[in-house]
Symmetry: C2
């Protein structure tokens, strides 16, 4: 293998490893060696060790395939809930429609998160359309935040307003919908919407 200008091969190795890691598949030293046509494992190890020292990679010594991207946010499994309404909340978490990988800060409690598909057009004014997926964190919501609430056995996305004396208002962002003022015991705030995802397909092309 001919000698290359300083840093050039290292950059190519970094990109190769990075792309493999983003696919969830950490390569072994020999796999990297073979990909670049090196003849010595040590060549790869030297480059990777340098990349770790530069802070561009992380690793655990003496472990197979342990290189990681320090800058890459870690994905955590968040259950996509189907019918929260009928059963209890915990049952819904135990039988998710699917799992969605979501970036969550390490300081948060993973079990506080879930995802929900949006029904209805009541939040169009906030850019939340039917069919969107919202990611929700359970916990005490503040006034003004967009929340998921369980009202009359149905999960609904609205903006929360807390009035004096603990009066709860759930405000839609669509003039065609009414503000909900449920009595405290008929309404349970499930959590705060922290992220929204939408896949654009062919379904709603040309919507007015």
């Amino acid at each position: 293998m001919p000698r290359t200008p300083p840093g050039q091969t290292r950059e190519r190795i970094f990109r190769f490893v990075r792309d493999r890691l983003l696919r969830g598949d950490s390569p072994s030293l020999r796999e990297v060696r073979d990909h670049f046509g090196f003849r010595a494992v040590e060549t790869v190890r030297a480059h990777l060790t340098a990349l770790v020292e530069e802070g561009r990679l992380d690793r655990e010594p003496g472990r197979a395939r342990s290189y990681r991207l320090p800058s890459l946010p870690r994905f955590h499994p968040v259950p996509i809930l189907g019918e929260v309404a009928a059963g209890g909340f915990e049952e819904a978490v135990e039988n998710p429609e699917g799992i969605l990988p979501v970036e969550i800060s390490d300081s948060r409690d993973l079990s506080d998160f879930f995802a929900l598909r949006v029904r209805g057009e009541s939040m169009i004014g906030a850019g939340i359309l039917p069919g969107d997926t919202v990611i929700v964190e359970r916990g005490e919501p503040r006034s003004g935040q967009i929340v998921v609430a369980l009202v009359e056995n149905e999960a609904t996305v609205k903006r929360l307003h807390l009035g004096p004396g603990g009066v709860v208002e759930l405000r839609p962002e669509n003039p065609e919908f009414e503000i909900l003022r449920p009595p405290p015991d008929a309404c349970r705030i499930l959590g705060v919407v922290v992220e929204l995802r939408r896949t654009l397909g062919t379904r709603w092309r040309g919507r007015p």
Copy 2:
């Protein structure tokens, strides 16, 4: 280790491995063994082999830490472009602001995808707000699709309408904005918006 009811331990092992895999970290047999307090590696191997036969896990024999989730959509690295405007497009791809893992079908060409942060309020009617991140696939757009276009050296998100004779219309979805009818040589359609992501609130979110 006491004997457990059939299937129960296997379920727990599956969940443990699944969660580790979603964090991008495939456990070794001995790591699983230690986590559950087994004394024999073979116990774990038997369970995992069964899970593979049930189709709940995938693996490559004779490879370290090679268990995978077959159901998990594969995430691919998509560059987040900063300033497309100034420089050329290829330069922007080479120097991304960050990398965003995106679910992409295997039939697509990974290098056709990029992500862009939305500026301006011209697409509020389509539920696309400033600050949102759109994921874009390069390629020939069809009339009616939401596209990213390069007009007067600035990337902009609009709905595309192709009129007779190849007339290009870029329609905002906000009554306060005008329809753009750029001459063909002053407008380059970069691609079609296929996904949208929005982070709400103060939750931490890392950018690599």
